[in-house]
Symmetry: C2
Subunit: 337 residues, 2 copies
């Protein structure tokens, strides 16, 4: 193991940025023997008994457990539903594993379970199997939830960074930054003029509609930990391309922009839980945007894949010039999901 992995786990190893990447590249990937890009994708795709399936998991440790626009329960359902959708799959079945701290309020647990059921209903998936563990006081933080999900792949071709092509349009499904700002505002005790609600929502319906319309989906990515910037950098690196974005085209609501200024956050790196980017051929872009606008009228093309680039890059064009985006080194927003 390279020495620079450090002697102990730091918060930033879970932040989705540079240290998370190093953990994957230097520890998990060599151990699991994964193909180069398996582990930076949202889920695995494989054939079983003649069916092409997607399979994904995420653990949720968000703090606080309840926040404007959702809670750990809806987050845990939508997060895994969205990871499956990003594989071009129709999410079908979910598992839930709960790790509860001794002393957690039964009423809060009931609220979370109710929220999970409602989110599953809205996303069209079934919670079919589960597990509950209880740990002593001081060995948890109320409630952690893991969900895993199984979906049926609906795209004729794989949806993966490797399929990104020069000329592809980069479409963003809606405005960014709401989830991260909603969590940070509660956590820091900030009262903004209007409450900013998390964008936590299922994305499968919009993806399935793109598939049904025959839009050639080269790559999909939901913009969770690390936000739009991290998602695009990972795709640029995995596909060996240079992605150019137009900053003015990236929708950020005024309340989110204001809150980010107060909190010292760059909205491009703030987590979302109901937003994604789609890489599609330019010829399909207008049609794809029109479909996505049925779900959110801020859906728009924010950039293009400009040329091949050995190590991958993402640049953002502004009025004054262009800046290069890079993976964050530290932990910007601990326990945002």
């Amino acid at each position: 193991m390279p020495a620079d992995l450090g002697d102990t786990i730091e918060l930033a190893h879970g932040g989705g940025g540079r240290l998370t990447r190093r953990l994957i590249d230097d520890l998990f990937r060599p151990a699991f023997g994964a193909a180069p890009d398996d582990l930076t994708h949202d889920g695995a795709v494989f054939d079983v008994g003649g069916a092409r399936l997607a399979f994904s998991t995420d653990s949720y440790v968000v703090q606080p457990i309840f926040f404007p626009g959702g809670d750990i329960g809806s987050l845990a359902v939508n997060g895994t539903v969205n990871d499956l959708a990003m594989c071009g799959a129709q999410p079908l079945y979910l598992s839930a594993g709960l790790v509860i701290e001794e002393g957690f309020a039964m009423d809060a647990l009931r609220r979370v379970i109710t929220s999970m059921c409602q989110a599953a209903h809205e996303a069209g998936v079934r919670l079919v199997t589960g597990d509950t563990k209880v740990v002593e006081r001081g060995k948890g933080d109320g409630l952690y939830i893991n969900t895993a999900g199984v979906g049926l792949v609906r795209t004729p071709a794989p949806v993966a960074p490797q399929r990104v092509q020069v000329g592809d349009a980069v479409i963003l499904s809606a405005d960014i930054g709401r989830h991260g700002v909603a969590i940070m505002a509660v956590r820091e005790g900030l009262g903004f003029e209007m409450t900013i609600a998390s964008d936590c929502a299922p994305l499968a319906a919009s993806v399935l509609q793109l598939i049904e319309a025959g839009v050639a989906l080269h790559c999909l990515r939901d913009l969770t930990r690390g936000g739009l910037a991290t998602g695009l950098i990972e795709i640029a690196q995995a596909s060996g391309t240079a992605i150019g974005l137009d900053e003015a085209a990236i929708p950020v609501s005024e309340p989110v922009r204001g809150a980010c200024e107060i909190l010292g956050l760059d909205p491009l790196y703030v987590a979302n839980e109901g937003r994604f980017v789609a890489f599609v051929p330019q010829a399909d872009a207008a049609r794809a945007v029109a479909i996505l606008r049925q779900f959110n009228d801020e859906a728009t093309v924010i950039g293009h894949v400009q040329h091949a680039a050995e190590f991958g890059s993402v640049s953002v064009g502004t009025i004054g010039g262009a800046r290069e985006l890079d993976l964050l080194t530290g932990e910007q927003l601990p326990r945002i999901c």
Copy 2:
């Protein structure tokens, strides 16, 4: 919610006994709208794209993380492999979700990951997708792991408590109690004359061999939290039958028996991580035992399904008479898995 569910979560809610059952029956089952016995089974079975799949999950919070005969990594792989096998499925793909406490030693993480890979290799499954979260010091206990798994069902008929029939032989795959005693011995700092190693092991190979031999598997259950007694009580209740066991036939090694006496534990309730019971027609019993003895020569018939019984029951015949087994009320062995 019934008032007797209590106001807060207690350790016993995660113990696999009476309170776990109440949590499932009074909170999870009504919320998830599950069929009566879905949630007390080891996994879910469903059809996707023409394939009949099993899907299961478990979170692992075992303390200590390393113990004789295994660690949280091998436990997390084998536990989910075994849950799939208990559905009559060939385990194929696993996910892993890690919740790591800040400050956890990188070297310990590497050992656990190596152990997971080795266990996966031995069980013939692939770890294909994962997730890592980091929580602050004091909000975890080193490392918690969730695994979920997908398998392909290989039995011609369902394997479930509902298929248990009067006259079925109850076959135990090997001696019981090793895992729980191994953990408790380390935790309590007890040095026994010989170190007792956990029985943590994959069970899929033996189950698949029973299936290939055409043994009619009515029900399978691995004997984890709550041990042999809890597993059989759940099956008796779900199938509406009275199960009679012969205590003298239940293999318990001398070291485990001695340790249980010192620790004040009933081996029938002690957790195992590589042991299971199979309910098969009496006509198939000898053949099934012969197959299981290829894996462990202590495999044996320990009892039979005696008659229908509205609420289900499990009795153990001893030289002096018979005693009825019941679900445990408290938490016997916290964080045993």
